[in-house]
């Protein structure tokens, strides 16, 4: 990347706002990886590819709910953003099938903290 000027810094900042597209975030800090986030991340990537869904799958840090790792946060247009906890390979597949493709929240794995 070229050296940034202060103006470009502002441009990147304002350009990032209001991007409402869909995304999946996987907690990939040491705590998440220890709990199996690598496999979950890979599964999400494979499954979305299989189903031809273009969605941004991001590797993120730790949100602090270490007891519920691996954590997967999903934002799909038209649905509230939710965080799934203790996600396994199977649950990751369900998330892609039901939540990403079917536009329905998946039962039993949502961790909703802090109102």
């Amino acid at each position: 990347m070229d050296k940034l000027t202060p103006q470009e810094l502002d441009k990147i900042n304002s350009g990032a706002k209001g991007s409402a597209s869909d995304w999946i975030k996987v907690g990939m800090s040491t705590c998440g990886i220890a709990a199996g986030a690598d496999e979950v991340h890979q599964t999400l990537k494979d499954e979305t590819k299989k189903r031809n869904v273009a969605i941004d799958i991001k590797k993120c840090g730790c949100v602090g709910m270490c007891y519920a790792e691996p954590l997967v946060e999903v934002k799909i247009d038209g649905l509230p953003p939710v965080t799934y906890g203790r996600v396994t390979k199977e649950i990751a597949m369900k998330i892609v099938e039901k939540h990403v493709c079917g536009k329905m929240l998946v039962n039993d794995y949502i961790f909703e903290l802090e109102g």
Partner: protein
């Protein structure tokens, strides 16, 4: 496909009885189908709603309306009033507590730490831009003074003051980020480095600008490979973008940074030992003064700030020092990240405003103890901190109040203990850690620690004398007064605070040779309850001392004279037929 207009999350939060989540789920679905609403409203069973022991809890999105203690009979009126008309039923409503406040962890988990554009997108490096083009170093320090930020590494020294001391004229100055996080059970810095490395880099650049440093070091322990990898990637990206190196963002300020790995010595978190380690010498502390702000790395003025402290700084300059100071108490501003572990339901990182009580953290945020038993004590501050008994749970957390209780905030480790934990054992564990990690340079720490540990071992083995309590206190005071660095000065804190609050428990060990929590296996005696014994023979198999006699036909007994009290039989018995008393 029809999209839902409303979402109902639901969860039965009573743990003592059968989970009724599914029943309520079905009832809601039935009712919605009856009213032809099932196409518009989706009902979802949640796994955790962050509220505990308040019956069935439902949350309605959008609006974030939370109802607790919902009964079967409430379903109809919830659907009629709240779902259809959008009105709130005040008798059922509970307010979301929102006790956490994210400043340091503001981006952790929401941005991709390996993507610098993500960080800039959430306002990253904009604080730096303001500093470089609109402020002078003196103004930066003035702003820091307004914010009231104090060091988050343990001692709580005002950051602006540290910077000011390093302002004097000198050709070379350094900034060091202390990422040598060593307290058992604490991992706040690791999470920040892994989840938001750019915020730490930005904080460091601002610190360097304020004191006029041209070189920075990240001192991170080698046990954090992912943190090291991410910070190195972040440094490389920042350099590519012109945010590090010569003429940052086209200004005339230059700074380059380098990562140094710590080999895992606890004492290297102490600033003078850390400096020695970076210089390539043995990591031992030296007497202060001179403080590093005056004479630090390579003899030059050096500012050493903790990871969490640096991560606060970009926020201060983006939002302003006064805004930052709105949170917290009179003497402690801002938030603090705690790593809550031990016997707690939801362990993890919590970031809370200064001044919150321990009770709020333990019960409201972390959901109480994992065993359901009452909290006995909370250990804060790691091996340099102390133990706070349950009766002080309502103390607001800030530097001074915890110091009065004989503990410290420290770097933010917090270990919750319930009735199954023996405080003598805990004191022994922490002291053992410090003895192991003592560098051995000064004798109060080297010898005092070892002697105290011996006394504690004696007490937990039932060989303690009542004079030992006074001896512990005497050695502890000597260590506090005479040790060279913070490690030795504070190593006795866990012992002192447990003796202070749990003297009865010590006396029980010494006089009655009993451990009330049954944790000290050497003080227990083991017997087999014949009526429960299934004669499986596992205890005999596990007993290395040959103290279990008998056979599968006759049953088994433990010969007390041969028993070495290792507790193996107790752990092995699947039928809980062995008692430990």
């Amino acid at each position: 496909m029809a999209l839902y207009t409303k979402t109902i999350l639901l969860k039965d939060t009573n743990l003592s009885q059968e989970d009724r989540t599914r029943d309520f789920y079905t009832h809601f679905l039935q009712k919605l189908t009856e009213l032809n609403l099932s196409e518009l409203v989706q009902v979802v069973r949640a796994s955790d709603v962050g509220i505990y022991n308040q019956g069935v809890v439902i949350k309605i999105i959008p609006g974030n309306i939370i109802y607790a203690n919902v009964k079967d009979s409430d379903i109809a009126r919830i659907i009629d009033t709240t779902i259809k008309e959008g009105k709130v039923l005040t008798d059922l409503q509970v307010k979301p507590r929102g006790k956490q406040l994210r400043v340091v962890l503001r981006n952790c988990g929401s941005i991709d730490p390996e993507n610098i554009r993500d960080y800039i997108g959430v306002g990253g490096y904009l604080g730096l831009k303001k500093v470089l083009f609109e402020m002078t170093p003196d103004k930066v320090i003035e702003e820091m003074k307004k914010s009231g930020l104090r060091g988050r590494g343990g001692a709580g020294f005002p950051t602006w003051m540290k910077w000011k001391f390093a302002r004097g004229p000198a050709a070379e100055k350094y900034v060091i980020c202390n990422g040598d996080e060593g307290d058992p059970g604490a991992y706040m810095d690791r999470s920040v480095l892994e989840g938001d490395p750019h915020s730490v880099i930005e904080g460091m650049i601002i610190a360097a600008f304020a004191i006029g440093a041209t070189k920075g070091y990240f001192y991170i322990r080698a046990e954090y490979p992912l943190a090291v990898e991410r910070i190195q990637k972040a440094i490389a990206d920042a350099r590519d973008c012109g945010l590090l190196g010569e003429n940052i963002l086209g200004s005339n300020f230059s700074l380059d940074v380098e990562v140094r790995l710590g080999a895992g010595a606890f004492v290297c978190g102490e600033e003078t030992a850390l400096i020695a380690s970076i210089e390539g010498r043995r990591g031992t502390p030296r007497p202060r003064p001179p403080y590093p702000s005056v004479k630090g790395l390579w003899g030059k003025p050096t500012v050493i700030n903790n990871v969490e402290t640096l991560a606060n700084i970009p926020y201060i300059f983006l939002k302003g020092g006064e805004e930052f100071a709105k949170v917290g108490t009179a003497t402690a501003k801002g938030t603090k990240v705690f790593a809550v572990t031990g016997k707690v339901r939801n362990s993890g990182l919590v970031e809370v405003p200064m001044g919150i009580t321990l009770r709020e953290i333990v019960y409201d945020i972390c959901g109480g103890t994992s065993s359901g038993k009452p909290v006995k004590a909370v250990q804060t501050g790691g091996p340099s901190g102390g133990v706070i008994p349950a009766e002080y749970l309502d103390t607001p957390i800030e530097y001074d109040t915890l110091a009065k209780l004989g503990s410290i905030i420290g770097s933010g480790g917090m270990i919750i203990m319930d009735d199954d934990d023996c405080l003598v054992d805990i004191a022994k564990f922490y002291l053992g850690f410090c003895v192991e990690e003592s560098c051995g340079k000064c004798s109060p720490c080297r010898i005092g620690g070892t002697q105290m540990l011996r006394i504690l071992e004696r007490i937990t083995e039932g060989k303690g004398k009542i004079e030992d309590l006074d001896m512990l206190k005497r050695i502890a005071v000597a260590m506090q007064k005479a040790s060279l660095c913070g490690l030795g000065q504070t190593a006795a804190n866990p012992v002192l605070s447990t003796v202070r609050y749990f003297e009865a428990e010590y006396k029980e060990h010494i006089l009655n040779k009993k451990c009330p929590s049954k944790k000290c296996s050497q003080l227990a005696s083991y017997t087999i309850m014949q009526e429960r014994c299934k004669k499986c023979g596992l205890c005999q198999k596990y007993c290395a001392a040959g103290a279990v006699s008998g056979s599968r036909e006759e049953g088994y007994t433990i010969k007390q004279d041969k028993c070495v009290k290792c507790g193996q039989c107790f752990e092995a018995c699947k039928f809980k037929a062995i008692t430990r008393e």
